[in-house]
Amino acid sequence: MADLSIDFCGIKSPNPFWLASAPPTDKAYNVVRAFEAGWGGVVWKTLGEDPPAVNVSSRYSALHGKNRDVIGFNNIELITDRSLEINLREITAVKKAWPDRAMIVSMMLPCEEAPWREILPLVEATGADGIELNFGCPHGMPERGMGAAVGQQPDLIEQVTRWCKMYTKLPVIVKLTPNITDVRAPARAALAGGADAVSLINTINSITHLDLDRMVAFPIVGGASTHGGYCGTAVKPIALNMVAEIARDPVTRGLPISGIGGIGNWRDAAEFIALGAGSVQVCTAAMLHGFRIVEEMKDGLSRWMDEKGYENIAAFSRKAVPNTTDWKYLDMNYQVIAHIDQDKCIGCGKCHIACEDTSHQAVARLVEGNARRYEIIDAECVGCNLCEITCPVEGCITMVPQETGKPYMNWTQDPRNPRAEVTLAEA
């Protein structure tokens, strides 16, 4: 069986699956249950200065799919609402009882040197393996100058990271907020401050839905609501891109990344790892299904690795990074054309109407008595994938690469580009 263990910036873990800093890691009871279930590590729910934060009721809302499957999840909870002393005591006890698991402590303190200098040694004394700086929390805490308010200012990130490196020898992971325009800036700042790793993404500012009778968004607190932080399956594509951006940035390339955002199964985890993550963090999926999902995640990942011949996580980590590039380096001569497998087609007509109404009129509807037959008009197909996406039958529509006989030519080399950087001859 493949070896799932990792060494993430010096933090050892029996598997890459960590629970993210969130309600599931709020206290010893939950964390012990998580370790019993087989999680490789946890990022303990964010500690702050006393007095602890106070939470409201209610706190969560969700975007449901057609069958009440949860697509996205939104919360307005703050950092831990328990005292620093209780949290530190529990962290110490749990780490002692579970020495092989990764114990990372999430922290959020004001942007002043003193509290960091004061509290970091206390955290270190628990025996924890590392700290994660919560620069991402998008609701509540930013109004107090913390969380995402810091994460949106690279200079503050760099400064706080530097203090942390000064006052603890534990690895420092900087957790990034996605509520910015270019995630590379805060990542570079973290690196400049001496961060050992970054983790991302934290949650995205969100309003999931409204009660249209009461004219108020969810979750409802009294008669009002506020924006929360969005996570779950819906944010995975955003998170994957941000992880890739940092992984392929020449400045931050090689900086360990703990991937977070909509990871619910082994495949999601493999994707994050392939795009540059060294560990993955999970929250929403555990909150929806319980801790035991880690069993299937570990089993699935390990079987896939065996099948592919990857002996350990490092063997496929970052393997998709070189294939992720800027648009201008894509091959302008590459061509795919849709193909409909008529034996698999169930005749729903979705490919036709999607292409007809909104794309390139490349799917013909042929009326044969009371039956309908849908066929690709090759000459009109631009290979956009829309029909393949809308088709309800897996494998019925495939996008077939065409033999164009033309060499690789990207936009910088393309004669149609008025600002071509190089000519074909030079390339």
Binding site: K66, G347, C348, N370
Partner: protein, 461 residues
């Protein structure tokens, strides 16, 4: 009450206990079930289900509305094509129509979306403060409709929408036609048929006159003179005869008469119920009869058909219902003789065994006797002899194609007499389905509307 069955003992049990056996055969979907089921619809373009629906309901659209919690919008989408959408959702053989066409059958799921149940969900849960369809400004025209069944009332409703006034002449005490009198009680339980008629009538402009029997106290000639157009939706009132001696003996009855009596019975416990019954026929009415008499307490019910299962006009779903009720099904046996006891009452039937030979049904020589206290005929309906007997009615072209004595109509449901239209079971095209009758009435109304637009209104007596 059916005279020929008076000698049989009444049903065992109280009316209340018996009535419980005639509640909904297929329970409605809960809101959650409807949400789950509606999520299965792929919202096909040029959807096969809609093409398979005789009334052309936009199935994908109404299902999407259900899923989007716009149930009333879903119901309007159904009713605008089929004003009997509620009855049809309960009685349509969806397994040979929309659900047979559902692309989910071809999908890995191999199960169609439950379109019938979803349609019922929409209709049953819609809320209308006022009738959902408005009448166009009055045209000053009045159309006579004969027969207040699905065809006639569908025609009347559409005509009313188009701004015409309508007088419906109905022979029986209640409107609704076969929905009221002819469908198995557990398919349209309670007073659903009447509720649907009331709903339809609430558009206004439609008047129903009961006790008018075509050929008896109502004549096509008069209607033609007095009204701007006439629509005949008279159905098929006469049960076909077996053509055997003993056919009128006590113990022999027509299935539709018994079903009508059952549906109208104030006291189910008063109904005569044979211990052993034979039902002759292989259509949905035969199944309805067999299953209902079983539910009323008959010990043995045998459905006898002269051909094989594959030739039965009852759908597979109906045959399953019969099997679930332990109805015996004897195929390849043709009626030969009604067996009578010393008192001249039915004691059974003799059948001769049959087989197909060179594409023809032939007797094998084998004889089967089945003992029974009652025999129910469900071998089809024909046109009542007198209904089209007045001089004008006799001019109607009948029986063209394979329609027997049915009225000939063109694709706009015009008969061969100008100004006279017909639809439903009394005309030749299609199968005798409620949903088909509704479509006939609707299309005839559109044709009438087009045809009488430019003609001056007739002076009426």
């Amino acid at each position: 009450m059916i005279e020929s069955l008076q000698h049989l003992p009444p049903a065992t049990g109280t009316h209340t206990a018996l009535a419980e056996r005639f509640t909904d055969l297929a329970p409605p979907l809960t809101a959650r079930q409807a949400a789950i089921e509606s999520a299965r619809c792929l919202y096909c373009y040029d959807a096969p289900c809609t093409r398979a629906c005789p009334t052309g309901i936009d199935v994908a659209s109404f299902i999407r509305n259900i899923h989007d919690q716009n149930v009333t919008g879903a119901a309007v989408g159904i009713l605008k094509e089929n004003i009997f959408g509620g009855a049809c959702s309960r009685v349509c053989p969806t397994e040979i129509l929309c659900e047979d066409a559902c692309v989910r059958n071809n999908d890995a799921e191999g199960q169609p979306v439950k379109i019938g149940l979803l349609q019922r969900h929409a209709i049953d849960n819609a809320h209308f403060d006022v009738h959902p369809f408005q009448r166009a400004p009055s045209t000053g025209k009045t159309v006579a409709v004969v027969g207040a069944g699905p065809a006639g009332l569908s025609c009347a409703h559409r005509l009313a929408m188009l701004g015409h006034d309508v007088v419906v002449f109905e022979a029986r005490e209640k409107a609704g036609g076969l929905n009221e009198y002819g469908i198995a009680k557990y398919k349209l339980p309670g007073d659903f048929a009447q509720q649907e008629v009331d709903f339809l009538m609430s558009i206004g402009g439609i008047q129903i006159q009961h006790g008018h029997i075509l050929g008896v106290n109502l004549h096509l000639q008069d209607l033609h003179t007095r009204y701007d157009a006439v629509f005949l939706g008279i159905g098929l009132q006469a049960s076909r005869r077996l053509g055997l001696t003993g056919e009128d003996a006590p113990g022999l009855a027509s299935a539709i008469d018994y079903i009508a009596t059952l549906r109208q019975a104030g006291d189910l416990a008063a109904l005569p119920v044979p211990k052993r019954a034979i039902v002759i026929g292989a259509g949905n009415t035969a199944i309805d009869m067999a299953v209902q008499i079983k539910r009323l307490g008959a010990d043995e019910v045998t459905l006898v058909y002269r051909r094989g299962f594959e030739a039965m006009s009852a759908t597979g779903h109906e045959i399953e219902i019969a099997k679930e009720h332990f109805v015996r099904m004897r195929t390849w046996a043709a009626p030969l003789e009604v067996l009578l006891d010393d008192a001249g009452r039915v004691r059974g039937m003799r059948f001769e065994e049959t087989r197909m030979e060179d594409g023809r049904l032939v007797a094998t020589g084998g004889i089967v006797e089945i003992a029974a206290d009652a025999v129910f005929k469900a071998i089809g309906q024909g046109m009542e002899g007198d209904s089209l007997s007045d001089p004008l009615a006799r001019e109607l072209e009948r029986g063209s194609g394979n329609g027997g004595d049915k009225i000939h109509v063109d694709s706009f449901f015009r008969t061969t007499l100008p100004g006279v239209y017909a639809g439903g079971d009394c005309v030749a095209p299609g199968q005798d389905l409620t949903v088909q009758a509704v479509q006939h009435g609707k299309l005839a109304a559109l044709a009438i509307h087009g045809d009488i637009q430019s003609t001056p209104s007739k002076t009426r007596a």
